[in-house]
Amino acid sequence: MSPIEKSKNPELSINAQDRVNLFSITVATINGSGSQTSNLTLLRSIFGMGIPVCGKNLFPSNIQGLPTWFTIRVNKHGYTARSESHEIVVAMNPETFLRDCDDVFPGGSFFYADDIKIVIPRTDIHLYPMPVKNILKESNTPSNLRDYLANMIYVGILAQSLGISLPGIQQALEYHFKGKKTPVELNYQMVVSAFEWAQQNLQKEDPYSLSPMEVTDNLILTDGNTAAALGSIYGGVQFISWYPITPATSLAEALTDYLPKLRKDAASGKNTFAIIQAEDELAGIGMAIGAGWAGLRAMTSTSGPGLSLMTEYIGLAYFAEVPVVIWDVQRVGPSTGLPTRTSQGDLLFSHYIGHGDTEIPLLLPGNINECFDFGWKAFDIAEQVQTPVIVLSDLDFGMNQWMANSFEYPNESMKRGKILLEEDIEKLSGNWGRYRDIDGDAITYRTFPGNMNPRSSYFARGTGHDQNASYTEDPKEWHDLLERLKMKYKQAKRWVPEPVIDFQENYSIGIISFGSTEPAIRECRDMLLAKGIGTNFLRVRAIPFVESIGDFIGKHRVNYVIEMNRDGQLYKLLIVEYPHLAQLLVSLAYTDGLPMTANRIKNMIVPREEKNNE
């Protein structure tokens, strides 16, 4: 049976109008084959047409050879969460061919390299064989580059089929290759060849097409790790010590890329920063804490396994009251877990990190712009509270392409907290001790090395200490110190960002979340509203929790806590904080390594609400 005969199936009649700017493309390739360039080119050229998009890379923990998928969701309503349906699938990998074919939404389109000789078992989808090898052979490209350029062929064919203009592709390629003429030209020519082949040979039967819009004006397309790096630089980061780990590596690489451009002293050309690749995470955090103790804005970036290694030092920094910022770009744990998949599984661990009674303020960015904003705010909080601050991002933010607003310059000056320089010591007329609470707010005054006042020094330690930092085992001193640290931690409420709240008096259902689930929740709330289920929404942006969170919970019959982990970690923290409201909280936690979808949340909430209405 030829593909054409199959496509005459009556199930394929979908109203084409409904599918303009409303579909997902999934590209299945082999890791290391250069498909990232092709996929980003598609994504950027659609964004360039003014149409909302989001690109997610579902890649293996491997450099070359394993299957990888890239999904581009095109959505005229602006929904950017992962979509569960794959309307258009491009199959370039024989190994996953049948699975990819099976994934195509009924009535969807299946573009595949025609050299893959596997019988296609479906009759309910549009089939588009692509003569990849022939087009390559007929092009005049160097043979050693052909494998890499093969993936440009589906770009050209999809562009022609969906209505992406060639100049749009060219603009995307020029951005990707930073204007370097040779690669732009080589890739572009391959796209043009494929585009022309499609013009002459491809008979369009499916309803999917693109039509220019105006809604991406003033937006940028970027990723969370780049945003975090830039935010940190505008927060004045001076010292970064890090160790490579997926998915946090690109954060440190963005710092390495941008710092020399932004932070050289204009007159001398010398650096106002240092970035060190440490030998491991144990040293990465140790260096950052040394620098933070000595008065620098210091940070490290890592993911779950690295954070496990850093735990002991973070406990010391908590206890010795050293400001330092740690970015945890979460991947799936426990253990090595799924290095290239996303999760929100480090919330409890980060918050209570370390042995003994330890509590760390957390910042929880919920979009790319907050990755930037919390990049600089984290230093202000760490220095004002004199504590480690952990910022929990995740792989979905960190490594995927998102539409974002232009980054906004910090709207307040840097807050360095209580620091005493040489002359300040004298002003305190002998009353200073590193851990003496002079102001009664549990935050003490700190000094740092290089201070030449002979009375400024102290000996920092992880052992029991008195107000002057001297060793003590005195029971009352120990008790009072731990109580002060608890009170000090709570002072963070003065500076942490308030939750984002969307509230209407007449709704009795609350949805609570943090981090990267917001796009799925926003879409789900629209779905629920269409079914007559109105919901309010609160996104937690920091721990310690602030008052408005308890207020929100108390105003609802039920609050669904949505998160991407197994145990409902945010839910647990909420019931510890608000035990009297525990009966109003319901945990809807789910983790499989993939970003949350609206559909999944809907399917968790609707049965519960239907039961409630019985």
Partner: protein, 351 residues
């Protein structure tokens, strides 16, 4: 009485920067009476005093163990940080970046350096951080009451732990192999040599590893153990008689011409090595390796400056930092101006 309490006469003397020896003092030691570590602390005080170093220009670091408590017993006017077991090198690395004018003195032990800390020790060395790194080496875990450390002699018998079946880690060897730019070994019972080596180390621009055999008077002081006083005294073979000459002083050599070797350090000071019984050149790395191997073979404790290289940049020099200490920079220097962010936004992919 601990070793740091000073006599009334030494109190009255002042050095070139107007400080008395008491200004270099620490808190009273809580280590065991007669512990070699206390003797080393005294020599650190003496060396800093005699070199006219301002205590505020020094930062002290340590890990965990008996040795790591000792920075509390010297230089009270210097900042200090007692870090994690074996991971003080990373702490020191970060802290010293804050102000490139500061000099670090780190005190570690054989457990802290040769066991949990061997990784950070080797990486510290290869980066050539300007830090005096003292290992107070007694071959035993004192603070947990007498277990074998990784530097314990093979065949050593301890009361509750039987006989050590493993070869020891040789700290000087590890330092040399890791491209340390200053490697010395000494014996806590030889205060004069310890002091001269400390002075040279403090003037060295880079990592200075001092492996100081410092007997544990409580848990490892059997006369046959290489980390005991009796063994050290009987088997010590000094490479040179050392004389450290600060840059401000005229070099006076009180021995025969042709018998001394002068090593000039980065600040213009020098270390004069008086030849004893052999012609040894501490700038020859291969010779240093041979020396250590021969010492092991003949069951000798070779002390003195084993290796020095003065022509390598220290870690912080590689980072092209601004002249002003990083920890004195303000918002104007640290937050790029607004226009730069508009430029960056413009570089992101847009329609």
């Amino acid at each position: 009485m601990n070793d740091m309490q000073l006599s009334p006469t030494s109190r009255s003397k002042i050095n070139r920067i107007g400080l008395t020896k008491a200004d270099y003092r620490g808190n009273p030691s809580t280590l065991c009476q007669g512990c070699g570590h206390n003797s080393i602390s005294s020599q650190i005080i003496a060396a800093c005093y005699e070199l006219d170093l301002s205590p505020e220009s020094i930062v002290k670091f340590s890990g965990i163990g008996c040795s790591s408590k000792s920075p509390f017993y010297f230089l009270n006017r210097a900042f200090g940080f007692n870090g994690l077991h074996g991971r003080m090198p990373s702490l020191a690395t970060g802290a010293l970046f804050a102000d490139h004018n500061l000099k670090g003195i780190a005190v570690s032990g054989d457990g802290d350096t040769a066991s949990i800390g061997i990784g950070q020790f080797k990486h510290l060395i290869r980066r050539n951080l300007s830090l005096v790194y003292i290992v107070e080496n007694n071959g035993v875990y004192g603070l947990t009451k007498g277990q074998f450390s990784a530097t314990a002699d093979v065949g050593l018998t301890l009361k509750s732990h039987g006989t050590n079946p493993y070869m020891p880690v040789d700290i000087a060897w590890e330092a040399l192999l890791g491209h340390a730019t200053f490697v010395a070994r000494s014996f806590a019972g030889d205060p004069k040599q310890v002091k001269e080596l400390l002075k040279a180390a403090l003037s060295h621009n880079g990592i200075a590893v001092l492996d100081i055999i410092s007997p544990c008077v409580t848990f490892n002081n059997q006369d046959t153990a290489t980390h005991s006083y009796a063994w050290g005294r009987n088997h010590e073979v000094a490479l040179h008689e050392l004389a450290f000459v600060p840059p401000a002083e005229e070099i006076v050599v009180d021995y025969q011409e042709g018998e001394d070797k002068e090593v000039v350090l980065h600040d213009g000071s020098s270390l004069v090595l008086k030849k004893l019984d052999r012609d040894y050149n501490p700038t020859d790395r291969i010779a240093a390796m041979r020396l250590l191997e021969e010492a092991n073979a003949c069951n000798c404790l070779i002390t003195g400056l084993i290796y020095i290289s003065t022509d390598q940049p220290s870690m912080i020099e590689l980072y092209n930092l601004v002249e002003k200490p990083l920890n004195r920079l303000g918002e104007a220097e640290l937050r790029p101006v607004k226009a730069t962010l508009s430029e960056i936004n413009g570089q992101m992919f847009q329609r």
